[in-house]
């Protein structure tokens, strides 16, 4: 072998060694932190036992605010008295195809939550005897599954975070939950809401799903259609988890209700032209046109419908239909008048909801990409409020104890009083399953007590 080759090997070795040396900076502290965390486990278990002994009603009455006013107490003997913050880690799609969701869905909520908590001095943790501010670490997975799973490992193994926030989308959540469970972390979902998560809910007791989805929204659509005398539907669904799930739930539910499905059409996520589908739907003469699709198909479908003069009695849209930003894409308030969307909530739901809507808009007023999401925002924020109240109520950072606390208690949050059943927010806690744009306002139109306005059916003509 030539000297040239030998030198190449040396170069590679030198490079490798220097890189390893660079990587090695945080190894020792990480190990130390790990050991501290493991040592804290018995205390957490004891705390858990103590919590279980107390009556559930009493526990739910222990409001976080009162605890935070308590005088600083001595930290428990087996926790690190020098701990200065609660490390919260998240892997979010800040670039790539899912970036829109971090920008407009869960993103604005967790950013406001951290800001509010820290402005208040932090979260009071009894075992530390003081308030601890949140140290938020967010990594960008570039909308790539490989990156996402690796970066959660980094948050857990290298950064030694105390809590994990969820990633974007049902698919990513499905992969992140087992990772969190493997290391004993609880995970409260955000954008992911799906029947496919049922398996994860059964398998991972420290996973909580928060968004309402097909199980309640498809029956809400059926109820509304029956109430309004709709007899047929033309359904378009995207070939992904959301579309497959909603269409699969709709087919038997519609048949059972006697609603004729004129066509059930699946489309790829990158469908380039919706015109043939709109033409087909128009020819079918169906009363309701239902899009279980995302904005990249939903918004063009609205515009093409306007262009072709297709105006069914009901025009129902999937994720993105609840985004305030749809107005800009589809001709303002008039351009979306009468469109029905999966969701839903508004500031009529409760004084807390009204305050939350006001706060979120104020917090994001300088972000040109921000727009209210009248399906998810309040649910996402409620999940963070639950986490905060559970930490304060349980008085520990132990994920297992907090997970159990969440299961055992009711919480007063922006949505009102909420609780979990089988690790999902109980259906009666939601402010609505279906919304409709009326004069630019997202009215809740469920055929039940959540309704904030009568539905406008048939849908008004396009402008």
């Amino acid at each position: 072998m030539s000297r040239k080759k030998l030198l190449s090997v040396l170069l590679a070795a030198a490079l490798g060694l220097s890189l390893l040396a660079g990587c090695g900076q945080s190894a020792a502290p990480a190990a130390a932190a790990s050991s501290a965390k493991e040592e804290a486990a018995p205390a957490a278990a004891a705390s858990s036992a103590k919590e279980e002994a107390a009556p559930a009603a009493e526990k739910s009455e222990a409001p976080a605010a009162e605890k935070s006013e308590a005088p600083a107490a001595e930290p428990a003997a087996d926790v690190d008295p020098n701990k200065e913050s609660i490390k919260v880690g998240a892997v979010r799609s800040q670039t790539g195809v899912f970036a829109m969701f971090d920008q407009t869905a869960f993103g604005p909520c967790y950013r406001m939550w951290v800001d509010k908590v820290n402005a208040d001095g932090g979260i009071y943790v009894e075992e530390y005897g003081k308030k601890l501010p949140i140290d938020l670490i967010v990594y960008d997975d570039t909308s790539d599954m490989n990156q996402m799973t690796q970066l959660y490992q980094k948050l857990i193994l290298e950064d030694q975070v105390d809590f994990l926030l969820p990633p974007v989308s049902t698919a990513f959540l499905s992969a992140a939950v087992p990772i969190a469970a493997q290391y004993g972390y609880l995970m409260i979902g955000a954008e992911g809401g799906s029947d496919t998560l049922k398996e994860a809910l059964a398998k991972y007791p420290d996973f909580f799903s928060v968004l309402n989805y097909s199980v309640t929204q498809v029956p809400a659509i059926v109820d509304l259609m029956l109430e309004q005398g709709m007899k047929s539907a033309y359904i378009v669904y995207i070939q992904d988890t959301h579309g497959i799930e909603y269409s699969s739930a709709a087919e038997p539910a519609f048949k059972e209700a006697g609603i004729e499905i004129k066509e059930m059409k699946s489309v790829p996520a990158d469908l380039a032209d919706v015109t043939p589908i709109i033409n087909d739907a128009m020819a079918s003469g169906a009363d309701a046109f239902i899009l279980f699709t995302y904005p990249q198909i939903t918004y063009p479908a609205i515009e093409v419908s306007k262009a072709l003069g297709y105006n069914p009695k009901m025009f129902i849209t999937g994720p993105g239909g609840s985004f305030e930003s749809m107005k800009a894409a589809c001709g303002g308030d008039e351009g979306i008048e009468g469109i029905i969307f999966e969701g839903a909530w508004n500031d009529k739901g409760s004084p807390e909801a009204a305050q939350f809507a006001k706060d979120l808009q104020e917090f994001n007023k300088d972000d040109p990409a921000f727009g209210m999401d009248w399906w998810g925002h309040i649910v996402y924020y409620a999940s963070l409020e639950v986490l905060q109240q559970a930490i304060e109520g349980a008085g520990t950072l132990d994920n297992k104890v907090i997970s159990q606390y969440i299961k055992d208690n009711h919480f007063n949050v922006s949505m009102g009083e909420i609780w979990f059943e089988n690790q999902e927010i109980a259906h009666e806690c939601f402010l609505g399953d279906l919304g409709q744009w009326q004069n630019g306002y997202p009215e809740v139109i469920d055929a039940d007590e959540n309704r904030t306005a009568d539905p406008i059916v048939p849908k008004p003509d396009w402008p």
């Binding site: 030198l7 960008d140 490989n146 690796q150 970066l151 490992q153 990772i179 992904d240």
Partner: protein, 374 residues
């Protein structure tokens, strides 16, 4: 007598690289001891990515480097491997999953190779890229139509197990790459790359050589996909057949040096670390910096790091280049520390890596110009 000694010496030297490979990989296997089975060290997690990219980049380089047939099918066979794990992950251990995925990839690549390796230049490249999309949409259609599902859960396996499996696979691929380059088979591939007609005229069965090389490297790519899938946990067709998996190995090889043995390895290591560091430290700048690094590499280091290093004449210049790169990396490290002291804690390897690349580019060009002037 001296000729016999020379030949013996050459043979001994030829064995050094494989021995070094085995020794380094064996040394790396001790990383599993830095954590436990349930809580591995983050080094192990990081090296799973690095080893995965090493397998992909070196495999790509074995076939496309010398033959000049630019394949973008890496994501297709990687995705097949992922689906093998998704379907059989609960029934088979990881090594068997890798073998099954490898065999399936080999068979499909051989069939495709026989049909398409008569295509040349851009036609072959476009076909291989089309193969990724074809498989992605075919599996999506099949899953939706017949199974009424879009994604699948993959049986999770401890990182240490995946790490060891990929370590062994990387060892096999590296040793194969080293010997193929020095074999008659490797010379035939190089001949095809230089002038396929001439290679055919001197008796090389060009189609067979191309098909075997394409299929054999696809075996390794499929096997790597099967192992990596167990860390991804949930997959669907767009995730499994991610087109970036076709482009990243090519970029790594171009950066490190196409056709060389060490080029793809260095490219895979630097790119994986740079990607990990930039996405975590500078997420908004990630693609911009990545793009700039690639443009600088192509403009100023057209033969990649290893190719440019090989162009240095004389031991002194080579040592100077190594020293300059090392100094720049140290400066980058000090710069990071100074920023941290000033309250901007970027940390990690971003600056050492970027400074190292800049130092290498500057000195490689300065020393090369010196040579040309002389």
């Amino acid at each position: 007598m001296s000729k016999t000694n020379d030949r013996g010496g050459a043979r001994i030297k030829q064995q050094i690289i494989p021995i070094v490979i085995v020794a380094v990989l064996f040394g790396l296997s001790f990383l599993t001891r830095t954590g436990s089975a349930l809580r591995p060290s983050y080094y192990v997690v990081l090296f799973v990515s690095i080893l995965n990219y090493i397998v992909l980049a070196v495999s790509w380089n074995i076939f496309s480097g010398p033959s000049g047939y630019i394949s973008l099918s890496t994501a297709a066979f990687f995705g097949l491997g992922i689906y093998v794990s998704a379907l059989l992950g609960e029934k088979l251990p990881v090594p068997l999953l890798m073998i099954v995925a490898g065999v399936i990839s080999f068979a499909i690549a051989a069939i495709i190779g026989v049909i398409t390796l008569r295509l040349r230049g851009v036609y072959f490249t476009i076909f291989t890229f089309g193969l990724v999309l074809l498989l992605q949409y075919f599996i999506l259609w099949y899953e939706v139509k017949f199974n009424n599902l879009r994604g699948r859960t993959v049986m999770a396996v401890p990182y240490n197990t995946v790490f060891i499996c990929l370590l062994i696979l990387a060892g096999i691929v590296l040793i194969a790459a080293y010997y193929v380059k020095r074999s008659r088979f490797g010379m035939a591939l190089t001949g095809i790359g230089e002038c396929e007609d001439a290679a055919a005229h001197i008796g090389v069965n060009t189609t067979m050589v191309k098909v075997i090389a394409f299929a054999a490297t696809s075996f390794a790519i499929g096997a790597s996909g099967a192992a990596k899938a167990t860390t991804m946990i949930y997959i669907d067709p767009p995730i499994a057949f991610n087109v970036m998996m076709s482009f990243m190995p090519v970029l790594m090889v171009i950066f490190g040096g196409a056709g060389s043995f060490l080029g793809p390895i260095i490219g895979a290591i630097v790119f994986t670390l740079l990607q990990e560091q930039l996405t975590t430290k500078w997420p908004k700048w990630y693609m911009i910096i990545f793009g700039v690094v690639m443009i600088i590499s192509i403009v100023f280091l057209p033969k990649g790091l290893v190719g440019s290093f090989g162009e240095m004449v004389g031991k002194r210049k080579k040592l100077l280049l190594i020293a300059a790169t090392a100094v720049f990396m140290v400066v980058g490290f000090i710069f990071t520390k100074l920023l941290a002291a000033a309250g901007t804690n970027i940390g990690g390897l971003v600056f050492p890596l970027l400074f190292g690349i800049i130092g290498f580019v500057i000195f490689a060009n300065v020393l090369k110009r010196g040579k040309e002037a002389a």
